[in-house]
């Protein structure tokens, strides 16, 4: 081949190969080129060169000064089978935090969990969530969690601490030293087996359970009444008459998610079903549940025993039971009426009490038993596995530890130093304990006293199972690889037990299920398929072994003496009631800024802990509120004094003070630390139980100083404005489905064309008949929403769900004080006033024991939106599907739209809330880990733009696309907003009003006529109908099941 190569020559010079050519042949250019840098030119840069150099240097220097943002977007080299960029994956899992439970579905995007919703297959939580569950996703990305094990306050290695812990445990065990494992109630059967393995390995070890909020009174009562140490299952969906003595079952008591769902079912009325449950609430503070009651009677805790006893006696007299020999508390409002209602609804009623006093719980059991509610609204056979902590064992443990008889303690996700009444004693006792281990995810109050911290995974990183109710199992599966170098606590226990087989909890869990549950079903005969199916569903139900409760055994003499001993009907002193807030709960999630900034459903205060007092006490003690400045007061509890701001709470019983638990964290993180006081210290010991009441030793001294609490709502009555709140009583509704409706009429000078079937009498027309604007045409979809004021319980789940879904920023206490909260959906809480309609200054004052109405308020998506016309740059427009749209990119921030919004639902970005050290509590936008929670389908808004509810347009678009791929129109099940999805009471219904089969169309009983949809449902109204904005959101009148004759009683 080489021989055949042709030679191409460059020119004749090469061909002739003359010496001059050869000399320069190796150079590209044979002649000298006038290149810069030649010796004589080196220092003679021209002016142009200088300018070029200058220009370049300046540009280079300024470019170097601009730090290019580091963008970490790493493409998949090998795409995981299940992960498609932009397409969410959903996994069924289980929420378990601080002893609480919820069966959930986790939405993940590109491997990041970003949203939690309820699992509809669950028979326990019925596909619903609450604010704490919704918000818990942010705790996964809390940057203040531990990144690996800790030894003596220093970062360590798992192998090192494992070796140490095992050695010490063995040594202690050999010496006969005592080992304790402290946890909340264990809901997980597999975890219980792991703990049993541990206890077997170390025979001197004991497992102690306690719960931050004790329900020991209920289990004790059932033990003495029925021989079963359980919390029974309550079924509010069958309880037509509910009497609650201080049980906040819609907010915080036992299983608020399920109870809210069940309770709301009987609160819905319609033309066909004009009946609803009747709810009596006897309580000291104004709870969320009390706010929903038809009859709410303030009762001091000191007389609670007598009030329950009186009801017992009234019913016992009828049922032929032995009555109690207790003091008569005097006239208790509506108690006889409640007894009558209960008696006539035997078997369809329910009496509950939030007290932790076994004596009261026994009376409640007795009442329910007399009413024949067992087996109907109360189920002893399938009790609740939650909150079964044994307080007396915990007390014993603290005593032993104080006495120095305990050598090793392991705290399994429990923080008793913070949330046990004897936390301080425990913290001192722990100094004398040889080995203290905590599995806490952060160095919390208890873990800070531990030598070893072996951080557990977040529940979204863990395998687990849970059995909140016997027979109702659910699986928890990890939805993300562990973010930090943490290890599942069960794995740790298996390692420390030196388990013979695998130390992998996943294998252990599978084995447990294979052995215990696989054979409890007969549908699937292959375990792998059974496992996959259970994992897919998230839940598995089986026939649990039936318990055998005994007949009711109640000893009236013993109970009467306990009540006479513990309660004082004529107590003159102040009484302190400790309660949980709907958002913060027991403080487990205190470091979650979404929950800290969630308005308390009743007081609407955020970011603080405060005392509540009754209106009368406030007046007597000189406690006032002046333009959001609250009186500070010294609260004395025996020898301790605390200074707290005081909120005047209408509806609170005179002589009571309310203080929330869950605050006063010292080591939870930068969000929670230093907010409020730790009220767990003031849980008092009464007789044989922990009591949330402190009946003596309380003093309150108002100071001259004031403190500004951050409130999202500062005006509390609705000024009797019937264009805002439309309500009626049940008997009125039964007579007329349109009862309580306010239908505005407008006088016109001309007889306008008849519209909407309205009669046109002398120019008096409905506001809809007059408009400057042409009607929009909605050829395809017309989205709308119905909000039933009757079933809205005001819990605020929707607010948090929306915040998670739509990347709504947290702005912090100071900005809420400035009234700049950003929530897209808020719940307006209105009190009634006793002033006459025309006494405007009188109407500003709430009644002493007001009726409460909750009104979720969000963008009304007006068809004739006042905001749309005033924007100078068309940044807010109307869609062809009825949505009022906000184009953030186009917004220049004149705020004219917000001013002109009659509903005041628009929210302005006053500052840059993301990546701003001033807003470092906005965890989801201030660090790269927190940002993983952001929904990639929704932009994070920049400073200076307006934002508001979008009806979750990203979900609408997704739903439409999914339906389109299947060649059909989207139906209700395809699209739902985050708020409607989260609502445990089903008070919010979203849907397509153009779809005659949609739920919303049926609820509104839409009549489709000549391109117009006429709402025939009498209860449906628009807020501020007379403004003529024509919202796409309808409210249903609030109906109260209260007899008219009782109104002034």
């Amino acid at each position: 081949m080489k021989g055949n190569r042709k030679i191409y020559w460059n020119g004749l010079e090469q061909l002739s190969n003359d010496p001059e050519f050869v000399k320069h042949a190796d150079r590209e250019f044979p002649e000298e080129l006038p290149l810069p840098g030649d010796a004589e030119k080196a220092n003679s840069g021209t002016r142009r060169d200088f300018l070029k150099m200058m220009g370049f240097s300046v540009a280079a220097a300024s470019l170097a000064a601009c730090e290019a943002p580091v963008r970490k977007a790493i493409p998949y080299l090998n795409k995981p089978v299940d992960v498609d960029p932009g397409i969410p994956n959903f996994y069924a899992s289980t929420y378990m935090m601080g002893g609480d439970y919820c069966s959930i579905v986790v939405k993940t995007r590109e491997g990041r969990p970003i949203k939690i919703t309820g699992n509809h297959l669950s028979g326990v939580t019925k596909g619903k969530t609450n604010a704490q569950v919704e918000a818990s996703i942010l705790s996964l990305y809390d940057i203040e969690k531990l990144n690996g094990p800790i030894f003596d306050g220093v970062k360590s290695e798992w192998s090192i601490i494992d070796k140490d812990i095992i050695e010490q445990l063995k040594a202690i065990s050999l010496r006969g030293g005592q080992i304790r494992l402290i946890s909340h109630t264990i809901l997980s059967p597999a975890t219980q087996s792991v703990i049993d393995t541990f206890l077997t390995k170390y025979p001197n070890a004991r497992h102690i359970t306690y719960d931050a909020i004790s329900y020991r009174g209920i289990t004790q009562a059932n033990k003495s009444n029925f021989g079963l140490e359980v919390i029974p299952g309550y079924d509010f969906s069958k309880a037509e008459v509910v009497v609650s003595f201080g049980a906040d079952f819609l907010g915080t008591w036992l299983q608020p998610i399920r109870f809210s769902h069940d309770y709301a079912r009987l609160r819905k009325v319609s033309r066909e079903n004009r009946h609803m449950s009747r709810h009596y609430q006897y309580e000291g503070l104004m709870s969320l549940t009390g706010a929903n009651a038809d009859y709410r009677i303030p009762v001091k805790p000191s007389s609670e025993g007598f009030v329950v006893g009186k009801l017992y006696n009234i019913l016992a007299a009828r049922a032929g039971y032995q009555t109690l020999d207790i003091q008569d508390p005097g006239d208790v409002k509506f108690l006889t009426k409640a007894a009558d209602n209960l008696w006539s609804s035997r078997g369809r009623s329910l009496v509950v009490s939030g007290s932790n006093d076994p004596a009261i719980q026994e009376l409640v059991n007795g009442i329910n038993s007399m009413l024949g509610n067992y087996g109907k609204t109360i189920d002893l056979l399938t009790p609740l596995n939650m909150w079964r902590g044994k307080d007396e064992e915990m007390d014993e443990f603290i005593q032993e530890a104080t006495a120095g008889r305990i050598q090793a303690v392991i705290f399994y996700n429990a923080n008793p130093v913070y949330n046990h009444p004897r936390g301080e004693a425990l913290s001192q006792a722990l100094e004398g304990v040889e080995l203290v281990v905590s599995t806490s995810d952060r160095i919390d109050e208890t873990a800070s006293l531990a030598k070893y911290v072996a951080p557990d995974h977040h529940f979204l990183e863990s395998w687990n199972d849970s059995e909140p109710v016997p027979g109702h199992l659910s699986l928890g599966q990890p939805t993300i690889t562990p973010i930090f170098n943490t290890r599942q606590a069960q794995d740790s226990f298996l390692v420390w037990s030196e388990a013979a087989e695998s130390t992998d909890y996943y294998q252990f869990l599978r084995k447990t299920w294979e052995e215990n549950y696989f054979n409890r079903q007969n549908k699937i005969n292959d375990f792998q398929r059974f496992w996959d199916q259970s994992l897919f569903d998230g839940v598995f139900t089986y026939e649990a072994d039936n318990l055998t409760p005994g007949e009711l055994a109640i000893d009236p003499g013993r109970i009467a003496s306990a009540i006479n001993r513990n309660y004082m009907p004529e107590n003159k002193g102040l009484e302190l009631i400790l309660y949980q807030k709907v958002g913060i709960g027991d403080g487990t999630q205190a470091n979650n800024p979404w929950l800290q900034e969630m308005p308390d459903p009743i007081t609407k205060v955020v970011w603080d802990n405060y005392l509540t007092v009754s209106v009368k006490d406030a007046a007597e003690m000189g406690i006032t509120t002046e333009s959001n400045e609250f009186t500070l007061a010294n609260l004395g509890i025996f020898d301790q004094t605390l200074t707290l701001p005081v909120v005047i709470q209408p509806g609170q019983a005179k002589g009571t003070l309310g203080l929330a638990l869950g605050y006063g964290r010292e080591r939870a993180g930068k969000v929670a630390d230093g907010i409020g006081v730790n009220a767990f210290r003031f849980i008092s010991q009464a007789d044989d139980h922990w009591s949330f009441y402190q009946l003596d030793g309380i003093t309150l001294e108002a100071l001259d100083d004031r403190y500004e609490l951050a409130q999202t709502q500062t005006h509390h009555t609705f000024m009797s404005r019937s264009n805002v709140i439309q309500d009626a009583y049940l008997s009125q509704y039964q007579a007329d489905p349109g009862a309580g409706r306010f239908i505005p009429k407008i006088y016109t000078t001309t007889h306008l064309e008849k519209k909407l079937g309205e009669e046109d009498l002398d120019g008096v027309v409905h506001p809809h008949a007059i408009s400057l604007w042409n009607e929009h045409e909605y050829p395809n979809h017309h989205w709308g929403m119905v909000i039933d004021l009757n079933s809205c319980i005001g819990c605020g789940s929707c607010t948090i769900a929306c915040q998670v879904e739509n990347n709504v920023p947290v702005v912090g206490r100071e900005e809420v004080r400035n009234r700049r909260d950003m929530h897209w959906i808020r719940i307006d809480r209105y009190y009634s006033s006793e002033a006459p309609m025309d006494d405007w200054s009188g109407l500003e004052e709430a009644a002493e024991n007001p009726e409460v109405t909750f009104q979720p308020m969000l963008c009304q998506h007006c068809n004739h939106a006042p905001c749309e016309t005033v924007c100078p740059v068309v940044a807010t427009t109307h869609s062809t599907e009825g949505l009022n749209q906000m184009t953030y990119n186009r917004c220049i921030g004149t705020r004219y739209c917000a001013n002109n919004c009659p509903y005041k639902v628009r929210r302005f970005n006053w500052f840059k809330y993301h990546d701003n050290s001033q807003f470092n509590v906005n965890l989801s936008m201030s660090n790269s880990l927190g940002k993983m929670v952001l929904n990639p389908d929704v932009v994070v808004r920049s400073r200076g733009v307006m934002e508001k509810c979008t009806f979750c347009i990203q979900r609408i678009q997704l739903g439409k696309l999914e339906a389109k791929k299947e060649g059909r129109r989207p139906v209700d099940a395809d699209i739902n907003t985050a708020c409607a999805e989260a609502c445990p009471a089903d008070a919010i219904v979203f849907g397509d009003m153009n779809d005659q089969d949609s739920r919303i169309s049926k609820m509104l009983r839409l009549n489709y006529r000549d391109n117009e949809k006429i709402v025939q449902e009498e209860r449906a109204y628009h807020v501020l109908e007379e403004v003529g904005a024509r919202p796409n959101i309808f409210y249903y009148t609030k109906i109260r099941n209260k007899d008219i004759e009782d109104l002034n009683a």
């Binding site: 909260d821 405007w840 921030g893 200076g944």
Partner: protein, 457 residues
């Protein structure tokens, strides 16, 4: 029958000759700055500097530096805007409408009044700019410019856009009007200038004015045409500004009386501001013979008339609120007078309705001190009028859950201070370097005869 009309007293007193006019007015420009001018300038520049700090922080950190909130989206920003626009009404009214009505007394004040208008409108223009969340985009997105954003265009339904047109037109016409008027006087200064630089500068400013008959004739035609153009603008600008409120749905804003009421209020506050400035100028610059008590009295009469119109408008709003039967409207006005901002309302009522009525008394009307004090009182009242309309209407509107209070911060005050500093700095520079009285026109009304006869046949 012989009709004997009384001879009007001369508008310029002190027996000034044509030469005296030139000398008196040019002296201000040619002399060294006076001590009082320097002090005034120092105060203005201090205000400007403090205000500038507030403004920079506002622009850097965001609108949240102000005390606004989710309920009250506008407060001092738009209050200041409307207040400044209102003040900016007097100049053109004096120059244009009074020119058309041949009110020659205007000649001694129109130059300063027009300058005030220009600066006031500049101050007004600041606020719609600075109040925007995204000024860096808004300043040109709010204009109907061809763009590459697709079919994006401004919203012609929005009163804010109407504002953009109304105020920019008004500003441009006022500026041209003012400048055309200045040209002959610049030429006078040019001709007298001794220093080379001032000769060049005033030469350039006077556009080569030659004082020929033809030039004068054209000058007068242009002045008349511009007066004709400016006249409707005087009425339209504040009408359109009032649409920002009148076309909304908020009780207290949604009122058809706003256009005439706003225009009257604007003239009211504009004259008050002219009064304040002219009384100071008169005293400091020794213009007592040019701005006489007669001028003061005439302006005070206009203040009584417009103040009374405004007062009637306030009362009419109450009547209409009652008569309309709209509860929200009734509450809005009840709340104005008795709610948390009652003090602002009563400051407004006292300053705007009660205080100008004092001018019915001749002694007060012709007293320099009383006029000066009351002119400031009127402008305080007019600022509160806008505050009352904007804040008390917004802070308690339809849904009681959203009711909130507005508390100003340092930055609210600071940016207002910035506009005040800017205004007075500009005005002081004008007073020093430009002829404050229209010399050319002034010369036309000097007393033509030295005769002391009281009547003319």
């Amino acid at each position: 029958m012989e009709v004997i009309s009384s001879v009007r007293p001369p508008l310029v007193t002190g027996g000034k000759t044509v030469a005296d006019v030139t000398e008196d007015i040019c002296m201000q420009v040619e002399a060294k700055p006076s001590r009082s001018w320097m002090m005034g300038m120092a105060i203005s520049l201090t205000a400007l500097a403090v205000g500038f700090y507030a403004l920079i922080i506002l622009l850097w950190e965001g609108i949240g530096m102000w005390g606004l909130n989710k309920t009250v989206g506008w407060a001092w920003d738009i209050t200041n805007f409307v207040w400044w626009v209102g003040i900016g009404h007097a100049g053109t009214l004096i120059s244009a409408i009074l020119l058309l009505f041949r009110q020659k007394w205007r000649m001694s004040i129109n130059r300063a009044a027009e300058a005030m208008t220009i600066f006031a409108v500049l101050c007004a223009l600041m606020f719609p700019g600075f109040h925007m969340g995204r000024l860096w985009l808004g300043f040109y997105w709010a204009l109907p410019l061809p763009n590459t954003f697709g079919s994006l265009w401004v919203n012609f339904n929005s009163p804010l856009l109407w504002d953009v047109f109304a105020i920019s037109t008004y500003f441009i016409v006022s500026l041209v009007f003012w400048y055309i008027g200045l040209i002959p006087d610049f030429a006078t200064i040019r001709d007298r200038a001794t220093h080379k630089i001032s000769r060049i500068i005033y030469g350039a400013l006077s556009f080569g004015w030659d004082g020929g008959a033809r030039t004068w004739q054209r000058y007068e035609s242009v002045a008349l045409i511009l007066a004709g153009l400016a006249t409707p603008l005087v009425l339209s600008v504040h009408t359109i500004v009032s649409f920002d409120f009148a076309t909304s749905v908020i009780p207290g804003w949604h009122t058809t009386i706003f256009p005439p009421y706003f225009v009257a209020g604007a003239i009211f506050s504009g004259f008050a501001m002219v009064m304040t400035l002219m009384l100071v100028a008169r005293h400091v610059m020794g213009l007592k013979d040019y701005i006489t008590v007669y001028h003061i009295e005439m302006m005070n009469i206009i203040i009584i008339v417009t103040g009374s119109i405004v007062g009637i408008a306030y009362l009419t709003e109450y009547f209409i609120a009652w008569y309309s039967g709209v509860p929200a409207e009734q509450y809005a006005f009840y709340n104005r007078a008795t709610g948390p901002y009652w003090w602002a309302y009563w400051i407004m009522m006292t300053c705007n309705v009660v205080s100008p009525q004092l001018f019915w008394f001749k002694q007060i009307r012709t007293s320099v001190i009383a006029s000066f004090v009351l002119s400031i009182v009127v402008n305080i009242g007019m600022w509160f009028e806008r505050f009352v309309i904007i804040v008390t209407s917004l802070h308690r509107d339809y849904l009681p859950s959203s009711w909130a209070m507005f508390y100003p911060t340092f930055y609210d005050v600071g940016v207002f201070l910035f506009s005040l500093g800017f205004f007075f700095t500009c005005f002081l520079l004008f007073a020093k370097f430009f002829p404050v009285v229209n010399m050319a026109e002034m010369k036309s009304i000097l007393k033509a005869t030295v005769s002391d006869k009281k009547t003319l046949k």
